[in-house]
Structure formats: structure tokens, C-alpha cells
Symmetry: C4
């Protein structure tokens, strides 16, 4: 996979295109972003609406045209990106490069495999392109903090998920034995599905305990699920509180330049100098 | 839209009316507020009860009379407000001015469009008038803090909502493919509706997965929805913690400049100097 | 309501009985508490089991005997309390005095109104007696803190409840108009009931939207209910954090004896003396 | 129950086996752990899949063979552990020793009681063996903190659970009286089951109120359950915040004695002295 085009001196056209496509701080760049975003939303809406039988029958033709207009737009965009970017291969194999390609392929492939429905999922990936717009600077800081807080508590959340899955497995096996096949608990996997539905407090009611003992066990699972939600909430709240606190105090030490001081700090905790 | 009546020197009558209507710190003003509030509650209750067939058939006449009594009360109140206020046009186009007008119009319009049911919604706006009573000073501080905390975390909540909507869209599209029309997932919008019902842990059970793969995906959506609620909770808790902390005390020590004192502090907790 | 028996010099018998009944720090007093508690649990269980038809038919006689044994026990206890307490009238009209009386009356009244079922509720009040056992000192501190935290945030919770009720009222009225009587939304009160079921994420599914617009509004109500739970959680968490923080630092100022200092306080915030 | 083999000087074989089985910090030890873990997951999956009728009919033979392979593996492991450990009796009666034995017995017992299904539950205990892998050092710290936070708030949670159970009992008794047997509330225990389903916001819908008064009481139970979840969340969040804070740093400044320093602090933030 050798890079076919080494980063030569960039032409002015390339530079201009790069600015329009990859940066959001010029007027043209912002308009470009908004148009791409509108096209993404339109195409996602089209996919959704096309799945409704009555709309498909009435406006199938129009949606088909819209589909192709947007696909050609995205194809042009993809080609221009490929041209404007310095290292095309790196872009092609990057996260957004793959998504960009996946936004084009389904429509073209539909010519080959006419009438295939299973490409619908792939089209849904177009929505992932919408996240690009999040590059708007002001949102990045927030998202980064949220992500940092979740990462910081990922081990605790893993332990928590392990506990939940164990509870759900044991509760499912117990209910399979207690309720049995005649009450809808036809297998352990199905009982585990019921336990998840119950413990997460979703409660469809498609499977529900009928015996007294089953209702007793179900009650315990419910109260467990009701109370246990406090654990991840506590974990995430504490992690966020820490992550935000770190980011709020922006005071830097005049002596060593270190930041990240506590709110009530009077001396730099790294060099001991007065703040 | 020139102001027809410039703020002339206010007459004593106007001043008195202004005090009664707009201020809650005189006895008459408080009584006025309580009567308006009772009328609002009565009219909302009347709208609700009138929608019950058996009550409508038995007490339709009485409810109709009550409706007109309250409407005339509100009309008089609106006219007096219009007279007492300094800049009538500003009031007419203000938030509460529009609501006050909307509380009158439906009943009058019902004379024109006799038997129209769709004005019921507009009548529900009368309930918004009930918030006026929140002007009682002690509640304002609390509501303002809540609002400040929500505003401070609005960007984070927007990012969070975007993530939830993306999850729901992808889960909906997947379930449409997996379960198909024969299991109730007749279109992607309907599948998205199911995904929202599931992820928010509401779980009506009107649409529920029947295939093993569908139940597996549903389980993931449930656990996601169950755990993800921790994120907005964490965001709002941290924002409130900050908002309340800030509001509790902004006093700084005159000797050492340290802040973050308790509400009942009389001496600086760091240097012992009088605050 | 003059007090018939003024607090005379207490007899040794009275004093001993007072110690056994009202205090939990002697061996006899603790045994007395445990026996009363067991009788309460037994009587509550008996009420529950008696409502099951098959058990009532098989063990009705035994439950009837148990009922009378416990009632006579409670009658004796009530009489002894009335005798041992200094101001009997004050006890009779106190919270626990009323509950103690309500634990006796239903059984006696059942002789008069034979076969009355509606006294069952009153019997449930016996459960309130179980809280007495919470007088065990170690639990009081915790319950008091919880209560203090809830009281401190009661105004914020009132504002929050007002917002929820307004949302539920407007959503209910909208759904009544959108879905109409043919889809189960037969009246506004019933639609409000649906809105509460949905917004609290309970989701029975006995009433569910069938129109596309109705499902859209329902989705908004769900997401609102899903996210809005963060608000009371934030309020209570912050209030608890404050309530517990205040209680954790038990340091008292050596000069003025005042407590309730911050963790990082070095000088008393009331008198400025070194801690 | 005398110990048959007193801790003699350990043979090199014993020592080597001990290292492989009980320690995860050598390559062989880590591989041993991974293989045991895979066997546990495989056996749990086999138990689940065997309960599905279609799979049992198609692959019953293969699952039976797998069952015996894993059981023999676990038997060998158990025997080796018994040989390698210093105090075999202590291991046999320890928590993990009992679980290890319970992971073997069901399969052997199934030879005696052929076709018994009720041993399935016991097999589920195999899952508890999966927690052993949590011995991996990095996870222990997290789990210990979570456990400490939950233990620290156990009394508050007990008080909270007591309040919830009382609410559920009173609501159940009320609904039994209001709705009665004709609406599915056939007994108080069943009504309590409904109240738990409702208050925990699970909401199956298998039992739902039909009378207006019943729906009103149900609405109150729902709003109560919706809001009350804030209480354990608040409790656990505060407890975790404290537990994590305590664990981060217990260092005190040698000059001024102030604590509460950040993890990366090298100088006291109050007096600027070296920590």
C-alpha cells in the first residue's frame, strides 16, 4: 500500500479546496459544511420515508431521484476531498474516509443487486457523517470533557456491567426453572431477555411471570434494577465533577506555568511559588 | 406599530390598579392573585372534565356557564391590564400578554366556529398563566438557579441528545431489517419510535421484538438506555452543584482575599480575620 | 380537652413500665420492642394472606384467631402505654398514639360491621408502627440527614413537580386531540393518565398512540421524561452532599464551641479563633 | 474436621503448581487463568443453549460431550488445587472452594438423578467462578472502592428501602380495595406486586388500573417512584464522591498540617512548603 502521491508542493487550487472542505472558519467553508449537513439530513430522511409503504408507493420516483442527486453530490465531494487532501491513502483508510465511501457505495451497488433491502443499514451510516459538523469548535470542548469523564470511569463501569450481566444470567436461569415453558419462559436465553427487560425497567410485558414465586423473584429483580441505576450514575457524576473541575480552574503559575490548580490553592503545587 | 399611548403622567387610578394587578406584596394584590389563580385552576379543570362524555352529558350546561363566567373575568382582567400598564403594546406582544389573549379568544371564537373541538389545546395554554403566581419572591430564586444550571449545561445536553438520537436512528434501521414488517416493525419511522420507547425504558410492549437476533439487539439498546441516563444526570448534578455553590457565597476576605466561605461565616477560615 | 391526670409523682411501677415501653437501651426494653415488631409484621402478613382466596378458604379460621390474639396484645400495650405515660392525652392525640389506636379499632369495629372489607386499609396503618423500631439510635442519624436533605430541596422539588404537571397536562390535552376517542384516549383526564404513565417511563401499554403524529408527540414526552429525571436527581444529590458535609466535620471551636466548620477551615468562622 | 495434611515443607512440584494456579503474574499462570475462564464461559453458554428446544434436539449429543469435557477439566483443576494449596480444608470450605465444588457436582449427580432439570440453577453458579478473573490486580482497586461506597451508605439505603416497601404495601392494599378482583387485583400480595412493577417504573401492563380512582392512585405511585429514585442516586453519588476523594490522597503538609492535596501536588497549596 505505498502512497502513490507523495506530499508535493501544494497547488493554490488544492489549498483553496482544502480550506473550503476541511475548515469551518471561512464563510465559504461554513456554507460548504451547512450544505453537506443538509444533504445528509435529507438523505437520512429519504431512507426513513422510503421504508413507509404508502409514501414509497406515492413518491417512490421522487425519492429515487433525490437519492441519486445526493449520491452524486457525495461522489463529487469524495473525489474533491481525495484530490485536496495531502495524503489520500491515509484519508481513504481513516474513520471518516471509510464512512464517506460507505455513504456512496450502497446506491451504486443497488444498480448491481437491484431491489436489495439489506443495504439500508449501510445507508444509516450516513448519519455518522453528521458528527463531522460537531467539528464546530465550541462543541468539541464539551464532547471531549464528556468523553474524558466516561473514559476515566470505564473500569468502574466494566465492573458494574459485569455485575449486572451476572445478576441477569442468574435471574434468567432461576425464572426458567420457576416459571417454565408454559408461562412463556421457553428457554434460558429468552428468560435472560426477560431479565434484561425487567432489570432495565423497560418492562414490555410480552413475557411476564404468572406464578407467585416467579412474581416474587421478579419483584426482587425490579427493586435491584431500580436501585442499582444509582451506581453508574454515581460513578459518572463523580468522574464528570472531577473532569469539569480540572478544566474550570484555568489559573497558571506565574513561576513555572503549570495549571490545573485547585480552586482554593494559594501556592503552586508543583514549584511552591505564590500564585 | 407605533405606540398609540405614550407614557403620560399616570393617573392615581392607573397607579392603584397597577399595584393591585402587578404586585403581590399588598393584601389586595395578593387576593387578586389568588382569585385569578383559582379561576385558572377552575377553567383548566372545566376543560378536562368537559372532555369526559358522562360528565359532559350530565353537567354540560353548568360547565358552559362556568366557561363564560371565567372568560368574562379574564376579559375584564385583560382590559384592566391594558389600561393600567404604561406601554400597552409592549404588554400585548409580551409572552404573558399573548397568553392572556389566548386565554380569552377560544371561547369567543367558539361562537363563530360552533362545536369546534380543536380549540381545546389553546385553552390548555391557560395553564401557563398559573406560572405567574410563581412571581412570589421566594420561588424565583430557586427557579432561576434551576434555569441557570440547565442553561450552563445546555451544550453538553445537546451533544448528549445528538448521541441518543443517532443511537435510536441506527437501532431503528437495524430492527426494521432484522424483524421486518411481519413482526410489527412496518417502517423505519415506526422502528425508531420503538427504539425511543425502548431506550427511554418506557417499554409499552405494543411493538416488541420476536426474533432471537432482534431480542439481542433490543437487549443492547435497553442496557445502553439504562446506563446512558447516568450521563445527563451527571451533567445536571455537576452544573447544579456549581450553580448553587456560586450562589451561596461570593464574599471575599478583606485581609487575605480568600473566598469560598460558608453562608454563616463571620471570620475568614484561612486567616481568621473578620469578614 | 383538659388533662384529667396532672403529672403527679410517678410510682415505681409506672417508671419501670415507662422504661420497658419507651426505651430501647435496656435488655427488657429491647425484647419488648422486638416482640411488638414481630406482632406488627405477623399482623401485616396476616392481612395480606387473608386477601388471597385460596388461603382464606383453607386457613381462614387460624388467621381469624391470630387476628384476635394480636389485637388483644395491641390493646394491652395501648392500655399500658396510656397508664405509663405522664400526659396520657398528649399521647392519645400524638402521631403514634393515633396510629396505635387505629391498629386496634378495625378488629373491634369488624364485630359491629361484620364482613366489612374496607377496614383493610386502616389495618395497613399498622405498618406505620414498624417505623417506631427506627428509634434504634444508630438509624436516627441517617434518617434525619435524609429528611434534612429532602426538606432543604423541597422548594426546588415543588418547582420541578409544577413543571412536570404542566407538561403532563399539555401533553395529555394534545394527545386527546390528536389520537381521539377511537384510539383509547377517551377523555383529557385519561390522556393525562397516559402522559404520566409515559413521562415517568412506566409504560403499561394499556393506552398507546396509534397515529404517526401521536407517536411523534409521545416520543418527545418520553425523551423529556427520560432526561428530566436528571433534574430532581441533581437537586437531591447536591442537597445531600451539603447535608452530609455539614454533618461530617465534627470539629468544635475550642474558644466558642461552635461546630459546623468546613473541612479546610483553620480558624473558627464565628469567633476567628484558631481551631 | 482435623486437617489431614499439616503444612509440611512444600515440595517443588507443589510450589510450581501453586504459582500456576493461584498467581496471575507469570505467563503460564495467565494462560491457565484464560483457559479456565474460556471453559467457564463455554459451560455457561452450553447450559443456556441446551435449554433451547431446537438446539437441544439438533446438538444435544455434542453439548453432552462438551459438558463432560468441561466437568472433567474442572475436576482435575479442583484436585490439583486441593493438592497444591497449603491448607486443603480451609480451601474446601472457603467461598471459592464451595463454588468450585458446585461447578462439578451437578454433572455427576445427573448420572444418579438422570433427566433432572432443577440442577440447572446450580450450574449457573459456575458463572460466579468468572469473578475470579477479576483478581487481575487493576480491577481490584475499582471494585473495592465501589464496595466501600455501597457499604458506607448501606444504612441510608436500608432506611430508603424500608420507605419504599412501606409505600408499596400501602399502595397495594389501597389498590386491592379500589380496583378489586374484577380488575385483576385479586389479592393484596398481587396488588403489592403491581405496586412494585409500577413504582420501579417497569410497567409490564399485565395488571393495570381500570377505575378512575385507581388510575389517580397509580399516577401518584408513578410520580413518587419517578422522583424517589433521586434519593438512592444522591446517597450513592455522595458516598462514592467521598470514597474516591479519600482514596486519592491522604497526604498532610509537614509544615502546616493541611491535607486535601491533589495527587500530583509537590508543594502544599496553603503554605507553599514542600510536601
Amino acid at each position: 500500500m505505498s502512497e502513490p502521491k507523495p506530499p508535493a508542493e501544494t497547488s493554490p487550487l488544492k489549498e483553496m479546496l482544502h480550506e473550503v472542505i476541511f475548515e469551518a472558519d471561512t464563510t465559504v467553508g461554513r456554507w460548504f459544511d451547512l450544505i453537506v449537513m443538509a444533504a445528509i439530513v435529507a438523505s437520512v430522511l429519504a431512507v426513513c420515508l422510503e421504508s413507509v409503504r404508502s409514501i414509497r408507493e406515492a413518491y417512490g420516483e421522487e425519492l429515487h431521484v433525490l437519492e441519486w442527486v445526493i449520491t452524486i453530490m457525495f461522489t463529487v465531494e469524495y473525489a474533491v476531498r481525495l484530490f485536496a487532501v495531502r495524503r489520500p491513502w491515509r484519508y481513504v483508510w481513516s474513520f471518516y474516509g471509510v464512512i464517506d465511501l460507505m455513504a456512496l457505495l450502497p446506491t451504486y451497488l443497488s444498480l448491481v443487486f437491484a431491489g436489495t433491502q439489506s443495504l439500508l443499514v449501510v445507508r444509516a451510516f450516513r448519519l455518522l457523517r453528521i458528527f463531522r459538523i460537531l467539528k464546530l469548535t465550541q462543541y468539541i470542548g464539551e464532547a471531549r470533557l464528556l468523553k474524558a469523564a466516561l473514559l476515566a470511569s470505564s473500569r468502574k463501569i466494566t465492573v458494574f456491567l459485569g455485575v449486572v450481566l451476572t445478576c441477569v444470567l442468574i435471574a434468567g436461569a432461576m425464572m426458567y426453572l420457576i416459571e417454565g415453558e408454559e408461562n412463556g419462559f421457553t428457554s434460558i436465553p429468552r428468560s435472560i431477555y426477560w431479565a434484561i427487560v425487567t432489570m432495565t425497567t423497560v418492562g414490555y410485558g410480552d413475557i411476564a411471570p404468572h406464578t407467585v414465586l416467579g412474581q416474587f423473584v421478579a419483584s426482587i429483580v425490579m427493586i435491584l434494577g431500580y436501585g442499582v441505576i444509582a451506581v453508574p450514575t454515581g460513578i459518572v457524576t463523580v468522574a464528570m465533577s472531577d473532569a469539569f473541575k480540572k478544566s474550570t480552574n484555568t489559573q497558571a503559575c506565574p513561576a513555572c506555568g503549570a495549571g490545573n490548580h485547585a480552586d482554593d490553592a494559594r501556592f503552586c503545587k508543583y514549584c511552591g511559588d505564590k500564585l
